[in-house]
């Protein structure tokens, strides 16, 4: 009898339970290998000063504060606009496997790496910042718009009058069905673009991030605190200042007030494309001699060394970090979600939690990790916590909206048991879908954490760039993108 009981128990383990168990298993294996040692430093004096900085923020310490704010918005706006101009046509031909593959590749490379590449070509020009946002965003738009447009009900198209031209059929029969979702998504991406634009400051673009980083590095916390508060307010108030009608005003202003763009030097671009990105042994050699046996073998040695010493260790560290962050994101989201939905909490608490969420998702992971590193010492732990905090902030924000729209029976009581029976099962598939999508994002975000010394692929890419080894950096980027494409593919396979 007990035997059959256990069998009966097992048969209740359904599809989502299996996926969850698999996820938790992967996370515990990765956590075992991750370097999560806490090295107790004496951070209290420094943290105290940091706290003081937030309590007494100095909004007048930054000389170019208004310019920095304006550039942050302007790069985001122009980046999104260009991204849309490129992304829309791509979305229409996204069915083509080649287009989908190219988009996946472009998307897989983080904005900051695109910026590092364009930095070599255009220098610290506005073009670098705008293109670094526009390119990956265009690839993302292409995929998401194509997904959204696919969901348009087929019947309208089926019953259209025979002989309707293709454009009218598309606009009336498909586009008009889905455009509210598309506009919603663009609005959400604008928030992301503001964050990306600020982050580009870390590599020297004249946005908020630039002043933020230098303020924190130099210990000017009252200045840094003021900048961070401004940044969170900027993102929190998007819906008041970024109304579609104002965009017609901002856009011309953004173009007009762009910092002067230095003349593009064709020779530099040509040199970058024809010499700098080649492996060192091929530089300056005529094309035909590339295929000589001893040169080829040198190239092979170079690639082999790079792959064994940088690509593989970087890839393993990236995956370990990403899985640990994913596991923590999963737990944090599940714990925080009940505090954020009207189905569990009174209005007051939800309002407070909204503010917490806003701060969590607005703070750049880079800064979070930077602060945590002072507290916990240099290991993977600060990066894991920073990624998890940021991503769970976003997940909770998106999931809470979903949770509030769940219809519950009239007898529903805000108790954890009723919530678990009536709400969670409704949300779980969507929740897991979002989590797996975030996994791809987390892997991309490990790139930035590489720049503060966590030895992910991003760390090696960054050091190759700073040692002016572009060929090495590009090889690493190709592997980084490949890893992302594979993860994306596997996640989709697992979910469908």
């Amino acid at each position: 009898m007990p035997r059959t009981m256990t069998f009966a128990g097992f048969s209740f383990v359904g599809h989502w339970q299996k996926i969850t168990l698999l996820l938790l298993l992967m996370v515990s294996v990765c956590w075992f290998f991750a370097d999560t040692e806490v090295i107790a430093l004496e951070p209290w004096i420094e943290l105290g000063r940091m706290g003081q900085g937030f309590i007494h923020p100095n909004f007048f310490a930054t000389e170019y504060l208004f310019e920095a704010l304006w550039q942050t918005i302007s790069f985001a706006l122009l980046g999104i606009t260009l991204g849309l101009l490129l992304g829309f046509p791509l979305a229409l031909c996204y069915q083509h496997p080649l287009i989908a593959a190219i988009c996946a590749f472009i998307r897989a490379i983080h904005e900051i790496f695109w910026a590092l590449i364009f930095l070599q070509i255009f220098g610290l020009s506005a073009i670098t910042g705008i293109l670094a946002i526009a390119l990956p965003y265009a690839a993302t738009f292409a995929r998401i718009f194509s997904d959204i447009l696919q969901q348009a009900p087929r019947h309208t198209l089926f019953s259209l009058p025979k002989g309707t031209d293709k454009l009218s059929a598309f606009i009336y029969g498909r586009w008009m069905h889905m455009y509210p979702q598309i506009v919603d998504y663009i609005r959400y991406r604008f928030e992301c673009a503001l964050r990306s634009s600020a982050v580009l400051g870390f590599i020297g673009m004249p946005t908020l991030g630039f002043y933020l980083e230098s303020a924190f590095r130099q210990g000017h916390y009252e200045q840094g605190g003021a900048l961070l508060i401004l940044f969170v307010l900027l993102i929190g108030s998007i819906r008041f200042w970024a109304k579609p009608i104002f965009l017609w005003l901002y856009l011309p202003l953004a173009i007009y007030f762009l910092p002067p763009i230095p003349a593009i030097d064709g020779q530099i671009i040509w040199r970058f494309l024809s010499v700098d990105i080649l492996p060192p042994m091929l530089q300056g050699q005529p094309f035909l001699s590339w295929f000589d046996i001893d040169i080829l073998s040198k190239v092979f040695d170079w690639a082999y060394k790079l792959i064994t010493q940088q690509v593989f260790p970087g890839m393993i560290a990236t995956l370990v970090l990403a899985f640990c962050a994913l596991g923590l994101t999963y737990l944090l989201t599940l714990i925080l979600l009940p505090f954020n939905t009207r189905l569990m909490m009174p209005k007051v608490i939800i309002l407070i939690m909204r503010a917490v969420n806003l701060i969590l998702r607005s703070l750049p992971e880079y800064l979070l990790a930077f602060v945590l590193m002072m507290l916990l010492g240099p290991s993977m732990l600060p990066a894991i916590i920073a990624l998890a905090l940021h991503n769970s902030g976003l997940m909770v924000f998106l999931m809470a909206r979903q949770a509030d729209s769940v219809t519950v029976p009239l007898t529903y009581q805000p108790r954890i048991d009723q919530y678990s029976y009536l709400v969670i099962p409704n949300l779980y598939p969507h929740f897991m879908g979002l989590l797996f999508y975030r996994f791809e994002v987390i892997i991309r975000e490990t790139a930035i954490l590489g720049m503060i010394g966590v030895m992910t692929l991003g760390f090696y890419v960054d050091s190759n760039f700073s040692e002016i080894r572009f060929s090495g950096a590009l090889l690493l980027l190709v592997f980084t993108a490949g890893l992302n494409v594979i993860v994306d593919y596997l996640a989709r396979r697992l979910l469908h």
Partner: protein, 225 residues
């Protein structure tokens, strides 16, 4: 007008109606009846694909675009008559001429809501009349409907059926209201168990004939009573 000879109907591997033989003549009013899920819509969609050059298809309210106004939803029926530039411009700034035409159709259909109202804000019956208005605006000789009057009260349904019959030479409708079919259509086709079980002139049939082939909604009601 159209003949089906030994045609298999269905989606990919799943054949719902094997070896169907039917022919349709011009100037005929045909009602297709049968239990739900038997393949009536499949048959209708096949007919529509064969005759789409001269046919408008009206399926309850399935083809409506929720984010568009009543006016634009009806205008979709006229897309093929105008150039793409005209269609695009009309989306941004509705033209006067089609507006007058559409407003007249809506008045006939007793659709009194303002033309600029979004269809997502309408009731089921109003939505169905928007779908009918679109079909009328298409101005084709053949009308095909998939339960086009199901959400309307019987009197209104009858009035609109007469409007549809006036405006089209041929009418082919999938219906669930057997009485309406017997009284106002010339020919009745009943489909059941994957085949055509009855195909005859309506004036030679009674409800009793039909109920031999499938449980009519009314007979079920009577049985329960």
């Amino acid at each position: 007008m159209l003949s089906l000879v030994d045609i298999d109907l269905g989606y990919k591997q799943q054949i719902v109606l094997p070896k169907i033989n039917l022919s349709f003549n011009e100037n005929e009013h045909v009602a297709i009846l049968g239990p739900s899920g038997v393949g009536k819509t499949t048959l209708l969609h096949h007919l529509y694909q064969q005759l789409s050059e001269q046919t408008c298809l009206c399926s309850q309210a399935k083809g409506l675009v929720d984010n568009l106004s009543i006016y634009h939803n009806v205008f979709i029926g006229g897309l093929a008559r105008y150039s793409r530039c005209y269609n695009m411009a009309n989306l941004l700034w509705p033209f006067n001429k089609p507006q007058q035409h559409i407003s007249a159709i809506c008045q006939e259909l007793e659709l009194t809501a303002p033309l600029h109202q979004k269809v997502s804000e309408l009731s089921g019956g109003q939505r169905q009349r928007v779908a009918l208005a679109r079909a009328l605006f298409q101005q084709q000789p053949v009308f095909m409907g998939d339960e086009p009057f199901s959400a309307l009260d019987p009197l209104m349904g009858l009035r609109l059926l007469n409007l549809v019959k006036q405006a089209h030479q041929s009418v082919i409708c999938v219906l669930h209201d057997a009485e309406l079919a017997l009284a106002h259509f010339e020919r009745i086709i009943v489909i059941s168990d994957g085949k055509v079980v009855l195909d005859d002139k309506a004036n030679r049939l009674t409800l009793a004939h039909l109920s031999q082939h499938y449980a009519l909604a009314d007979t079920v009601k009577n049985a329960v009573a």
